[in-house]
Amino acid sequence: MIASHYNYWIAVVLLMIGLYVVMSHSNTIKKLIGLNVFQVAVFMLYISLGKIEGGTAPIVDAAFTVYSHPLPHVLILTAIVVGVATTALGLALVVRIHEAYGTTDEDEALIADRREAERT
């Protein structure tokens, strides 16, 4: 079990760290960093599905007969791009939030909003 599944478990542990960072931190930049870790862990989970013992990269060549499965790779290529797109958009929002609130901290910004609402 350990030898055949440790790959998955390490990905799960990384995923937990990423998820914890996203959920616990109120700093918006840190949240996005956590989100990245979380997503990379998921990518690892996927990629490990395609691996085959003794296989090689799925580039057909007369020298090889066993290839890892290409489909997870394709899916994760897509997912990586989605990830960077999300990060970019998130960071753009962080910059704007910092301009509008003077902070990159979600909780501080919420408090600022509440104060503003009380004043009016």
Binding site: N27, I52, Y67, V74, L89
Partner: protein
């Protein structure tokens, strides 16, 4: 147990240490760098697991582009975070542990890692992709044929995602000054020209730049035969120009590739990709059915189609990545 296992263990240890360090540090700059390291290490693991294309992309995108964006943001904001109070950390830990627990539970019924008889390997898809694709499409890199043809529609969607991010960031940050500035300029923004005395850096960069761009073109057009393709090429091309901007200043880069041109290139790539789809429709085939592109030789049609859509991807990704960089960088200059 072969030698790979030990490499695995070393890499996983680095990964775990990086992740823990990144979670614990309150220096956002350090966290961003660790996140880059994390991506790079995971790229190594992808290589070990035969996912060379993914590794390539993760290294370029995760370690390269994402880190640049993080640093760009940090230059505009502040780099320390507050201490996380227990009222946030305890529920978060519970959720993380629960999610992880469910996954561990799930993994107990997952097929053994790297076994040959897993459902994934046994499914007819495997044979189709690995054996038949050479006759159907004729591209040795199966990842490319799956990406651009079998699942070409997903890739169109993916290009659209990049396009979306680019216009969203353009909409949010624009290319001009911020509307309101909450606090005075915190410190030097990122892409000022590096001082003249750093001559070595300038010369070396200038020397490297053509090679980077050439390599990007190689990656773009050699994707059929080796790892690579539009995404990787696009990111590399953009990184080359970002390097140029870092060393010679944003204005120099903008003179070389103007933001206006980028604004046209981003949609152009998507248009090329979708245009291929509509062309195949008009030629009487299904959407993105490259076979109809060449009435006599379907395999040639596939080649042509893949070339075109990869070109579309490359254009959009290059332009989008560069545009993202410009947007963040220009925000800093404007202040």
């Amino acid at each position: 147990m072969n030698g790979f296992v030990w490499i695995d263990i070393v890499l996983f240890t680095i990964l775990a240490a990086t992740a823990v360090g990144l979670a614990r540090t309150r220096q956002l700059f350090a966290a961003a760098m660790l996140s880059g390291l994390f991506s790079l290490t995971s790229a190594c693991i992808f290589v070990l697991q035969d996912a060379v294309d993914v590794a390539f992309t993760e290294a370029a995108v995760g370690a390269g582009m994402t880190t640049v964006l993080f640093l760009g943001t940090l230059a505009l904001t502040r780099s320390r975070e507050k201490v996380t109070p227990p009222r946030r950390s305890i529920p978060a830990a519970l959720i993380a542990i629960f999610t992880g627990g469910v996954l561990i539970y799930a993994s107990t019924d997952m097929p053994p890692f790297a076994a040959a008889d897993t459902p994934v390997q046994q499914h007819p898809l495997t044979q189709r992709f690995l054996d038949d694709s050479m006759t159907e499409i004729g591209v040795p890199n199966v990842v490319t044929s799956v990406l651009a043809s079998y699942r070409g529609y997903d890739t169109l969607g993916e290009t659209v995602v990049v396009f979306t991010a680019a216009i969203a960031v353009l909409m949010l940050l624009g290319r001009g000054r911020p509307a309101t500035s909450a606090e005075p300029k915190p410190r030097e923004a990122l892409p000022q020209p590096i001082q003249h005395d750093q001559r070595v850096l300038r010369v070396v960069s200038k020397l490297m730049l053509p090679f980077i761009l050439l390599f990007a073109l190689y990656v773009q057009f050699h994707g059929d035969y080796g790892p690579g393709g539009g995404f990787q090429a696009g990111v590399i091309f953009a990184s080359g120009l970002i390097l140029y901007a870092l060393v010679f200043g944003l204005d120099a880069a903008r003179a070389a590739v103007s933001p206006a041109a980028l604004r046209r290139m981003v949609p152009l790539g998507v248009l090329i990709y979708a245009g291929v789809g509509f062309a195949t429709l008009l030629l009487g085939g299904a959407f993105l059915d490259y076979n109809v592109l060449d009435a006599h030789d379907p395999a040639h049609g596939q080649h042509l189609g893949i070339l075109l859509v990869e070109l579309g991807v490359g254009i959009t990704v290059t332009a989008a990545m560069l545009m993202l960089f410009y947007s963040f960088a220009a925000r800093g200059v404007g202040r």
